[in-house]
Symmetry: C2
Subunit: 266 residues, 2 copies
């Protein structure tokens, strides 16, 4: 019996989120079903973070214990043969027996994509949010710098368990332009429920001059949920979960981190 650490990718469109919920089609239940066909008998897989209905992942991380006589690569291929089109195993490694993908995570990276067109584009609606008029790039940049750092994000989401902390540290937040698209990348130790989509929504409001930077800064001081709007789920991708400093440092994060232990939910 080994503990396997597995990176999975999924198109969230036809899932009711990651986490198992009764008979609903969720990523967790589909992956667990594929595992059972390989004679896996545990109660539940472990995972780095829940994603919401319609949110995608390129690098979600799960873990489970399994008796498997072949190589990790062969395990990946066997799982892919049993998984539907919209989920796939991308990488399999053997982890230490106490590895937990949530508690061991140092940080998470999410990406958000939006496109600026007056009318919808059916070839982009699945993976990007249509925003019009186009936001101003300088204002988006200012908004991202305002969000970066350690804040009590209570205004952006409730704790995942009652009484849990709503303080999170955003290591980096930046926008990049590509044609008529804007792409946002945010790295933080962990995220509150719907936090990324609320942050994106408010930044777009700033970029469209419907909200001032001061009002955004004030929201970061507010003690309770403000219920700002939500950017659509299809634009959001859980890109990567970080377990080592080697991968964090090149991204410009200078100081050593301890595993956050925070509950996470993009």
């Amino acid at each position: 019996m080994e503990r396997y650490q597995v990176k999975i990718a999924y198109d969230g469109t036809n899932f009711q989120g990651f986490q198992r919920q009764g008979s609903r089609r969720t990523v967790q239940s589909v992956v667990e079903e594929a595992l059972r066909s390989l004679n896996w008998q545990q109660r539940a897989i472990l995972y780095a973070g829940r994603t919401d209905t319609g949110v995608h992942a390129a690098g979600q991380v799960i873990a489970f214990d399994l008796d498997w006589a072949h190589t990790p690569n062969e395990l990946g291929r066997a799982l892919n043969a049993n998984l539907p089109e919209d989920v796939a195993v991308r990488e399999v490694t053997i982890a230490s027996s106490n590895f937990h993908p949530r508690y061991a995570a140092l940080a998470r990276c999410y990406r958000y994509r939006l496109y600026c067109q007056a009318e919808r584009d059916p070839l982009r609606g699945r993976y990007a949010w249509r925003v019009y008029p186009p936001p101003d790039g300088d204002l988006l940049g200012q908004a991202a710098r305002t969000v970066a750092g350690t804040h009590d994000f209570a205004a952006f989401g409730s704790p995942l368990s009652p009484g849990g902390s709503t303080v999170r540290t955003v290591f980096s937040a930046k926008w990049e332009q590509a044609g008529d698209e804007w792409r946002f990348e945010i790295v933080a130790n962990a995220f509150l429920y719907r936090m990324v989509r609320r942050i994106v929504f408010l930044q777009v409001q700033v970029g469209q001059q419907r909200l001032s930077i001061d009002a955004l800064a004030a929201a970061l001081q507010a003690p309770a949920p403000l219920k700002p709007g939500l950017a659509c789920p299809g634009g959001l991708v859980l890109e990567r979960v970080y377990y080592s400093l080697d991968r964090l440092l090149p991204e410009g994060l200078a100081k050593p981190l301890n595993a956050s232990g925070e509950e996470d939910c993009g």
Copy 2:
């Protein structure tokens, strides 16, 4: 009553191709249904070319006659309000009363996208074909140069109507690399049924050294369908239909063209 020339985009995944066929869900039937809600009463719309099941379009062109009291932009918005998520009007203009999107077309541009990964990527499978091992870029380039020019493409598809010509002129064919992806762009006066996907398939065979350039050149001389394999439909997009030289010339097409009149089907 005016004749409207309308550029539409669609995600072909959930359509059984463009052309109306009984009660099947096709792009034509969905668009005609939206038009009927605006009191359109003709028998059928006109269109530049049929696309196959699962093939997408960013710039398909249709035309129809309609009594419409408002602006072309407002017609676009009214149609979009009546169209499902996977089809959208991108541009509406008033055309001359005898404009026919197929007969007036000087050329068509299709794009094909593929990605090179050992395992499938659920976030790309809808719009790209997974190819592994990665094809060689020099060989892809040689293959594209072999395809360019005027050839009898009988080996790549049957004529759309019995006895129709299978000679087509490929004005340009080129590959471009983007990370682990290869993107193919082909401009021709018109295309035979499944011609682009057969050309892509054979070029990939060349790129993977499973087929020689000479064998590809011989296929361009073959008088009858060779039934080579087919690249998957999701990677293919009808990008643009050309009605004016202004748009063709910057793409490197030097000589004036007459409307091809060829039946077209990517």
